[in-house]
């Protein structure tokens, strides 16, 4: 049985009511184990609370009730987050944005710069270290977001729909880089998506979410051999299987 790095038990999240409005129940009775080293995709329709769960796991938001049990191997300082809208700081250069996740670490400036240069390379950003975010395309900005996440060699990476604002070709390219780095680094990846084909292409397991209030209705093991061919019979069969859970 795979070792869990994070266990979620009976988790609820209700956003407090604002003036004149009722509170919104975003997540209801979430039970989920995240295994060490796996690529888990939280899949569901927009607004079902997937991103909220991801943010709670990353410590960016608070749960209303329930339990999150982190394994003793989980080190909060060894996590990273990739934002849907990139979340890169416009006043810093590409190099400085990537370096940001190393500043709090106890390493020398020389080591920091060496690590940044090393991670810019696979993302094709080596020539853009001195550029500012407004000089980059959306795809390039998300490369910066991903490079920033990977530069600190995190154990767990949370990705919030990282490719949803990108064109098909850029997204495909970045998915490949993400997969390569995930395998190379043996990190645990938890990614939010609302694209079934993306989930099947990337995930070891897919947690299917219901509509709001979101709850995990099914966990699908995706054991298709890698590299996965999205035009293969097995891929289509898996797609049908996942779709069936949403059509119920």
């Amino acid at each position: 049985m795979a070792q869990s790095i994070i266990s979620i038990k009976n988790l609820y999240k209700t956003f407090p009511r604002e003036e004149g409005r009722r509170g919104t129940e975003a997540l209801s009775d979430i039970n989920l184990n995240i295994h060490h080293g796996e690529f888990l995709v939280l899949l569901g329709p927009s607004g079902c609370g997937k991103s909220t769960l991801l943010r709670i796991l990353a410590g960016l938001d608070k749960k209303t009730s329930g339990e999150i049990i982190y394994s003793p191997h989980f080190d909060p300082s060894k996590t990273a987050f990739v934002f849907q809208n990139f979340g890169i700081l416009p006043w810093l250069t590409v190099f400085e944005n990537v370096e940001l996740n190393l500043i709090a670490k106890n390493i020398t400036k020389e080591e920091r710069h060496k690590d940044v240069r090393a991670i810019l390379e696979p993302f094709g950003l080596s020539a853009f270290g001195g550029s500012f975010p407004h000089e980059l395309s959306g795809g390039m900005r998300q490369r910066v977001g991903l490079a920033r996440a990977f530069v600190s060699k995190p154990d767990v990476i949370f990705l919030d729909e990282p490719f949803s604002e990108l064109d098909f070709f850029t997204a495909e390219n970045l998915r490949k880089i993400l997969l390569d780095l995930w395998r190379e680094r043996s990190a645990t990846v938890v990614m939010v998506s609302h694209y079934i084909d993306e989930a099947i292409a990337l995930a070891d397991r897919i947690a299917v979410f219901s509509d709001r209030p979101g709850t995990v209705t099914e966990i699908i093991t995706n054991d298709l051999a890698r590299p996965r061919d999205p035009r293969s019979h097995e891929f289509f069969a898996k797609e049908d299987e996942v779709k069936a859970y949403f059509l119920r």
Binding site: L60, F81, P90, W91, L100, A104, H134, E135
Partner: protein, 240 residues
């Protein structure tokens, strides 16, 4: 592409030509003013420098104080009450407490600077608050994830996101500050500075006119060569 859709408030040749003329204008005006009023050029410029220094000191203290007040109180549970208190305090007619200040501090430089601080600080506070409100949530979260703290947090996050507010607040605050400066210098019968300078020539409309012209051109030159470029730069910092 570097410089893509940047502000261009101070880029045109016309603006530069006007700006250059504005550097000379206060000096030429000051010479004419000295000739009309039969006052020495040195004395005229000394008064301008004294007032500018008073305002400069008050501005630095007000900016630091405003920034600290916003950073420490405009967050979490204290935000609503702090904003309410700031709003009430900025509405307070500052000159009503001038007699109390004079009673305790006398007709001193401290009183003048204190009054300038009270006048300047509010637009700076509210402009910084406005800057912080415009910060993208993902910037906050990216910084939280990076776990930078202390001086690094100030350097990499707080200063850049509050810079547009500081500059905008400074432009508004200094505008109010000049007005309060001259009034305070007059009310406190200060022996130096622009207030008593204008008071001396209140019955000489030509001298007053030139004095105001010098004053306006001086402020315009500062805006042109200091504040507008800074405003442009600070907005460029947070341009997405």
């Amino acid at each position: 592409m570097r410089g893509y859709h940047h502000f261009s408030l101070n880029r045109s040749r016309r603006h530069l030509a006007v700006g250059f003329a504005v550097i000379l204008l206060p000096l030429v005006s000051l010479i004419i003013f000295s000739a009309i009023t039969k006052l020495s050029f040195t004395l005229s410029i000394a008064n301008l420098i004294v007032s500018t220094l008073r305002l400069g000191i008050a501005f630095v203290i007000a900016t630091l104080l405003a920034w600290l007040l916003v950073v420490f109180f405009i967050r979490g549970r204290t935000e609503h009450s702090a904003l309410a208190i700031f709003d009430v305090m900025q509405s307070l007619p500052t000159f009503t407490i001038l007699p109390i200040a004079v009673h305790y501090l006398g007709n001193s430089e401290v009183t003048i600077i204190l009054f300038l601080i009270i006048t300047i600080i509010w637009p700076i506070i509210f402009s910084i608050v406005s800057s912080l409100k415009q910060v993208d949530r993902s910037w906050h979260e990216a910084v939280a994830i990076s776990r930078i703290k202390g001086l690094n947090y100030v350097r990499y996050f707080l200063l850049p996101v509050t810079a547009p507010g500081i500059v905008t607040g400074a432009i508004i605050g200094l505008g109010d500050g000049w007005e309060a400066l001259i009034a305070t210098e007059l009310l406190l019968q200060s022996s130096s500075g622009l207030g008593p300078f204008f008071a001396t020539f209140s019955d000489n409309s030509t001298a007053t006119l030139f004095g105001v012209l010098i004053f306006l051109s001086f402020i315009f030159a500062i805006n042109k060569f200091v504040w507008l470029p800074l405003l442009e730069k600070s907005h460029r910092l947070i341009e997405q």
